[in-house]
């Protein structure tokens, strides 16, 4: 299984003004995103921000209220979930307890009426990729959380999906396993280069893996960009706050020169950089101090 197995067409995902109400809550509110072919794209936000709903809209489990979903330019709104050729890894893995690991992974190939020999080859290949080939005859109940996660990943990958959808795939694992599997996902994505949409509330996961990230709040996308861009130039306090530990100090601008600004704060005078809208002397601003940017001198 490698990148060449995938259909060669350009499988970008385009969402235009997508909205979805669940009950009376606007779970997804006018979201527009363009995800490039082969990109590892993250939806990041606190719980209840609508990221999982957005992923389920892309998978087709909910009908959209308005807006369009396109895969490789083809409209998907009216395509039922079983015809979208996405591979989804569920937060709880959703492995079928009445089937073995092998049967779980083979399921999608059975649906696609792949020949027996070919099926066996591809299942074992997929299990190899996630390093679970030795456990292929086990029942999911006998596997640890990390192993279940790998099987779920293999099950989604084996059908060569146009888009891989990961719904908080690591959130049920302990900290050590999380780091391990994070590397695993990075490796597999590099090998296969399948367009991947990854939902998480863990900003470290997003910052360390993502090609690009969309930060969400209350059903809206607050900011989209590369990890460096988001981290260095957060569009607002929410993004800033959500992306990492930071100290905020309020003060008044005393001097502006180029992209540097002097601010008088209760803790003393500070020299800050800024971009975006122009600042003027006397304005009240909030300065952000990142812990890793602080150097302590003796």
């Amino acid at each position: 299984m490698n990148g060449n197995d995938r259909p060669s067409n350009n499988m970008n995902v385009s969402l235009q003004h997508l909205s979805k109400k669940l009950g009376n809550v606007a779970a997804v509110n006018d979201v527009t995103l363009d995800i490039a072919d082969g990109e590892l794209f993250f939806l990041l936000g606190p719980s209840g921000c609508g990221k999982t709903t957005l992923l389920r809209l892309i998978a087709g489990f909910y009908p959209t209220d308005s807006g369009t979903i396109r895969f490789g330019g083809k409209p998907m709104n009216d395509v039922p979930p079983n015809k979208r050729n996405t591979g989804m890894v569920f937060q709880n893995y959703a492995l079928w307890p009445h089937m073995t690991v092998h049967e779980n992974v083979a399921y999608g190939l059975d649906v696609r009426a792949v020949s027996t020999a070919e099926k066996k080859r591809r299942v074992m290949q997929a299990l190899d990729v996630v390093r679970m080939a030795a456990q292929s005859e086990r029942s999911p109940n006998e596997l640890s959380g990390g192993q279940q996660q790998r099987v779920a990943l293999a099950r989604a990958l084996v059908v060569q999906p146009d888009v891989l959808l990961l719904d908080e795939p690591l959130s049920n694992l302990d900290a050590k396993l999380r780091l391990e599997l994070r590397e695993e996902i990075r490796r597999i994505h590099r090998e296969l280069r399948v367009t991947t949409i990854y939902v998480t509330h863990d900003q470290q996961e997003a910052l360390s893996l993502a090609d690009r990230i969309a930060v969400m709040r209350d059903g809206r996308v607050e900011q989209t960009g590369t990890p460096q861009a988001l981290y260095r130039k957060p569009a607002n306090e929410f993004v800033e706050d959500f992306l990492g530990v930071a100290n905020f100090v309020e003060g008044r601008v005393t001097e502006v020169s180029g992209s540097q600004v002097s601010v008088a704060t209760p803790q003393g005078d500070m020299l800050c950089t800024f971009d975006g809208q122009a600042l003027s002397v006397g304005q009240t601003v909030t300065c952000v101090i990142r812990p890793q940017d602080v150097i302590v001198l003796k």
Partner: protein, 558 residues
Amino acid sequence: MNRRLTASTVALLALLVAFFGVFLVYPVAYILRGAFFVGGKFTMEFFRLVVASPLTLKSILNSFWLGIFVTALTALLTLPLAHVFTRYDFRGKSLLGALLLVPLIMPPFVGAIGMRQFFARYGSVNLLFGTHIDWLGDGGFWGVVVLQTLSLYPIMFLNVTAAMANVDPTLREAAQNLGASPWRVFRTVTLPLVLPGLFAGAILVFVWAFTDLGTPLIFGFNRLVAVQIFDRVTDIGTNPMGYVLVCVVLLLTVALFIVSKWLLAGTRYEMLARGHTAGAEQHVRGWRATTIQVGVLAVIGVALLPHASVMLQSVSDKWFFTVLPSQVTWRHFGEIFTYPLTASSVRNSLVYSGLSAGVDLVLGVMIAYVLVRQKVPGAAVLDALAMLPLALPGLVLAFGYLGGFNVPLRWLNPRDNPTLLLVAAYSVRRLPYIVRSAYAGFQQTSVTLEEASLNLGASALRTLRKITIPLVMANLIAGTVLTFSFAMLEVSDSLILAMKERYFPMTKAIWALLGRIEPDSVSVASAMGILGMLLLAVSLVIASKSLGKRMGQLFRAG
């Protein structure tokens, strides 16, 4: 939770062992002895006779097929209903769900009285269309199948719905995501996971249909093992064939339970961590909702046909060779309380059912308490004994009582006074419901509340009385009410054990009335059936008010 056995626990266990020993183990052992031993010597001779007699062999086979057909039909009827009720949310869902359970409030044989009037050779349907079709089919066999299906499907529905609701929706979504069509998702994911629940319901339905006595009696279809046993009640002392047939029923039901346990071993999947459940119930509107509502209403309409027919029969004054009764009257409801037979039977039923509900309440609380809180050795045996009556047909127990308690004690021998044994039979048969209900109550109540009471110096008994029982009251009320109302409508125990008219309970009185030649007696019997239904309906409303949504748990096998 101490593992030490206190004196009071020992006394409690001794009482339970004595009760089960006398009223459950002894009669069953008596039947086995009657079937296998003659003059103290073991013999299989009688079983050879069963196979050699074409009538008994045919009866056993008929009963078997009856059970199979009823089980298959209830499953076929229930699977789509359960699917709709677990997957979709639509207008009127809770009302329709409640109406679907209405058949639980009437024993099938009462419905048979009314249906006979509709579908007999000179019944309403044939008169209406000028036909002479034998609607009841093959001497009544298919009539029994339909009647039992219509009255037993709620049990299957409750079991299957519970199993389906337990299937994590993401398991279906994962299959859908991998390209499976809705039918394929059902076949490869939902059905295998629901199978244990389906099986549990199927066993209850099969045993119920296999041993039901009332319905075939009303339809006059006597080539069934239950009816054959009933016919042998009169020569119970002289002819061992009755014991042998009861033994066949007993062995078959026990074998069935064992086989199902074995088949299901390893298929009770612990569901892994549950996923996102927001998409569990899909709200439907428009034509899809209408299709669902019309479909469910059609089932309810057919299922309530027996009830409607009994109602019609109960208010009919003259109903001979006409489609509908030519005159209508409420008189028969009054006559229930003026006829000596019916008036005393209502009183008897209230006494028997009241006493048995009381016995069950005390025993059920004790058993559940011991099982949940005391952790005594042999708890598994106690649990099995308390649940055994689920697998034990009333027919078997009643026959064992009749044979085993044929002693010269006027207060014990059912031939003289069946009160004690009827109360015991009702109690034993309905004990599983109240044990389960109380068990759930104890489990939901934190043990620390009891420990606080013990810590303040209260005795174990005082703690039970002052703290525990008040906390599990809702469960106890529900369990007791159900025990009471099902005792009111118990058929096979009542038909077999009550032999003197002045001790007849309602169900036996209904049966006796049908055998009379007075023109009104069928209508009075129907009026009694309606009275019983109303009583049971009120009881169920009380029970569900105190238990809320957990009501369905009481009818589940798993």
